[in-house]
């Protein structure tokens, strides 16, 4: 359903190894991601879909409940029945991401000693930081994406990005997180040694004389235990930074490469679409490949063009029976209401197309009835994704 001059979504899916699906919360990003992944799997690709906190029922239907950070194979044949055409070699895996679990893996990977690992895992602040440090989820999603891409076990990895108020946060978050960890914590609390952070020196000098006064104040403010725990946490974390920094660089490289495409899921309302525009422009500036929009929950209407004010100006005729004619007028009111909604949505979508140009696919999915929480329903969506 895209413009004829633009590639269709299937071509975009086929031409890339990584699809990053962005969008604000509540637009159906997870559903669209799962549906795209399912479509590619049915077409014969080995696909992994990664998602953070999906709708529980969707997770249920995909069979990934309780299994975090692990690619779980989905039995398409069992889920969809025998009459569904499955291309040779196609498979679908799903993975539910968990920020805490991925942090744990990162600590294990980059900690230079068992001692550092233990110090971090046993620190009270670690759990809190791994869950609520802004950018954590985003960094971890990227980290996981890189890892899965590198295994070469999949032809396509679809990443359903964490919900952010501003879709762009997702891209900037990892950088910001690194800046916070490096410049902030270490630059401020821990002296550098030959341009590199030295954990040993750091531990020893954290409470050095020069900073004593400052820590006295902080101690009065927050309590001595708090400061001691924080200092220990920070110095242990400093060991991980070199490793994390080089990973972050690799992630950016992957995102800018030919292998990767960004798609945005948006709802046809002013707020969602203006964010879509902003995101599109910023990605272009950052040299990151933006490849199309999926506009979800477009309100359909039967009939096109202008709807007359009363049914009697259409092919309805008065019966003369008052309640019957009143019922026809109510039917007509519903018709007018829905036609108006459809026009509003159309107006927003046209504004988006006018801004972003005709070379992108704009796929529209109508507002479907009922909930989408199993593979069969996802397959219905596929019909619109062509």
């Amino acid at each position: 359903m895209s413009d004829s001059s633009a590639p269709d979504l299937n071509e975009v899916v086929k031409a890339h190894k990584v699809l990053v699906i962005c969008g604000t919360g509540g637009v159906g990003k997870t559903t669209v991601s799962a549906s795209i992944a399912l479509g590619a799997a049915l077409a014969g690709q080995r696909v992994l879909v990664m998602t953070i906190d999906p709708a529980k029922r969707l997770a249920d239907s995909l069979g990934v409940v309780g299994k975090l950070n692990e690619a779980t194979p989905i039995d398409l044949r069992a889920a969809l029945g025998d009459d569904v055409e499955l291309s040779e070699g196609g498979s679908l895996h799903a993975m539910m991401l968990d920020a805490k679990g991925t942090w744990d893996d990162t600590v294990r990977r980059f900690a230079k000693s068992q001692d550092t690992q233990d110090r971090i895992f046993n620190n009270n602040y670690y759990q809190r930081a791994s869950e609520s440090l802004s950018g954590s989820q985003e960094y971890m999603a990227m980290e996981r994406l890189l890892e899965m891409h590198a295994t070469e076990a999949y032809d396509l990895v679809v990443l359903d990005t964490p919900p952010t108020r501003n879709a762009l946060d997702f891209l900037e978050a990892p950088d910001r997180l690194m800046a916070v960890l490096e410049e902030g914590i270490l630059g401020w609390l821990i002296p550098k040694k030959r341009g590199r952070f030295s954990p040993v020196a750091a531990g020893a000098r954290l409470f050095g004389r020069g900073r004593e006064a400052m820590f006295n104040v902080l101690e009065r403010f927050m309590g001595a235990d708090v400061i001691r725990g924080l200092a220990d946490f920070i110095s242990a974390m400093s060991e991980l930074l070199d490793g994390m920094r080089s990973r972050a660089g690799e992630v950016m490289e992957l995102l800018r490469s030919e292998d990767c495409a960004f798609l945005m899921v948006a709802a046809p309302n002013r707020i969602a679409l203006s964010e879509g525009l902003y995101f599109h422009d910023r990605l272009a500036e950052a040299g990151i490949p933006f490849r199309g929009f999926v506009i979800n929950r477009v309100r359909p209407a039967f009939g096109e063009g202008k709807t007359p004010a009363t049914p009697w100006e259409s092919n309805w005729t008065r019966s003369g029976e008052a309640t019957y004619d009143a019922a026809v007028e109510q039917v007509w009111d519903e018709h007018r209401r829905r036609t108006r909604w459809a026009h509003v949505d159309r107006h927003h979508i046209n504004a988006l197309k006018a801004h972003c140009g005709p070379t992108l696919p704009y796929v529209e999915i109508p507002e479907l009835e009922g909930e989408i929480h199993d593979l069969d329903a996802l397959r219905l969506l596929l019909a619109y994704l062509e």
Binding site: T24, G25, G26, A55, K56, R57, Y125, R128, A129, S132, L133, S134, S136, P163, R165, N166, V180, L181, E182, G184, I185, G187, W188, L189, M214, V217, L218, R220, F221, M222, G223, D225, V226, F233, A301, F302, G303, T307, P311, S314, N315, W316, T323, Y324, A326, A327, V328, Q330, V331, E334, H335, R337, R338, R340, V344, H347, E369, G370, E371, H373
Partner: protein
């Protein structure tokens, strides 16, 4: 104080704005707070973005956008009198996010700012013990999406658990007690009449009740499709109308299909609302779906009138 909580995209801001307008129309001085960067209120009311100092939205109605940086400075310097800590730690844009996350400080400070508004008096005096009429009769907090919103309400206790002693601890306790005061603080849960939002609302309400640290005032179901053929006489005709419309074809058939869809939508919405009522037993109001191209101040005022059925 009302904390307006809900999943992303359910219309928290619209409900906040409507509540504010309603209170203002009844002659109460109301203020709506929102997170920095959102600036939804200004857009809804077609005004210049409001900043950290309250800006006017309508008569008796103001808005304020809580900027963490400014709030931290105010909190540490004015409330806790720790200018040195502020200078050393929080003026550093890299250190601040870390401290905020690890200590849950930014959440606490956001709630703290709301409490400050509660403590402001008309005569300019300030504090938990200040006398005289409040500067604001109603403070509406347009909260972040559910998960984060809940952690906002949890933040005072979390801070107390971490610090156990000292000025930060004492202040967190003051805030916690004010949140727990049923006379002063309530939560409004906003949802849509759809499967997932309703399930999340039930989950959030259950969690709030279990923790018992804040009172739930009620639920607002936003964007409810209006009833179709709700009078018996029309309902009786419906089947005949339907058959005839489909026979006629053309626009008549199209209108019948639209009406059928509306009926199904309405039935589904009613099922979800019934589930909410039965499970939670809380006061609940339904806001109609608006068909205007975009919400404007007039539409908001209309919504406010519907919300008025509540108080």
């Amino acid at each position: 104080m009302l904390f307006v909580l809900g999943k992303g995209g359910v219309g928290k801001s619209v409900v906040s704005a409507s509540l504010g307008l309603l209170a203002a129309e009844r002659g109460r001085r109301a203020i709506i707070t929102e997170a920095a960067g959102a600036e939804t209120m200004a857009a809804l009311f077609d005004r210049e973005p409001v900043g950290y100092t309250p800006g006017r939205l309508a008569t008796n109605l103001q808005a304020l956008s809580i900027q963490p940086g400014a709030a931290v400075e105010e909190y540490l310097v004015r409330t806790l009198k720790f200018r040195l800590v502020y200078e050393m730690v929080f003026r550093n844009r890299f250190v601040e996010p870390f401290m905020s996350a690890v200590m849950g400080l930014s959440d606490l400070i956001t709630v703290g700012k709301v409490m400050d508004l509660e403590w402001e008096r008309v005569d300019g005096s300030f504090g938990p013990d200040a006398e005289g009429p409040n500067k604001y009769d109603l403070i509406i907090v347009d909260s972040p999406a559910t998960g984060h919103g809940l952690s906002l309400l949890r933040s005072p206790q979390a801070m107390m658990d971490v610090t156990r002693v000292g000025p930060l601890f004492n202040n967190a306790r003051l805030i916690r007690d004010l949140l727990a005061d049923e006379q002063k603080t309530g939560v409004v849960l906003v949802t849509l009449a759809e499967d997932m939002p309703v399930s999340e609302t039930i989950q959030a309400a259950t969690e709030l009740r279990e923790r018992g640290n804040v009172h739930i005032s009620g639920i607002v179901v936003n964007g409810v499709v209006p009833p179709v053929f709700d009078d018996p006489a029309t309902a009786e005709c419906w089947d005949r109308v339907r058959r005839q419309g489909l026979e006629l074809g053309g626009a008549a058939a199209e209108s019948v299909r639209d009406a059928e869809r509306s009926l199904r939508d309405r039935n589904r919405a009613e099922e979800h609302i019934a589930r909410l009522r039965e499970t939670l037993g809380l006061p609940l109001i339904e806001l109609p779906l608006l068909s205007k191209r975009d919400l404007d101040a007039k539409a908001l005022a209309e919504l406010g009138t519907v919300l008025g059925a509540w108080s």
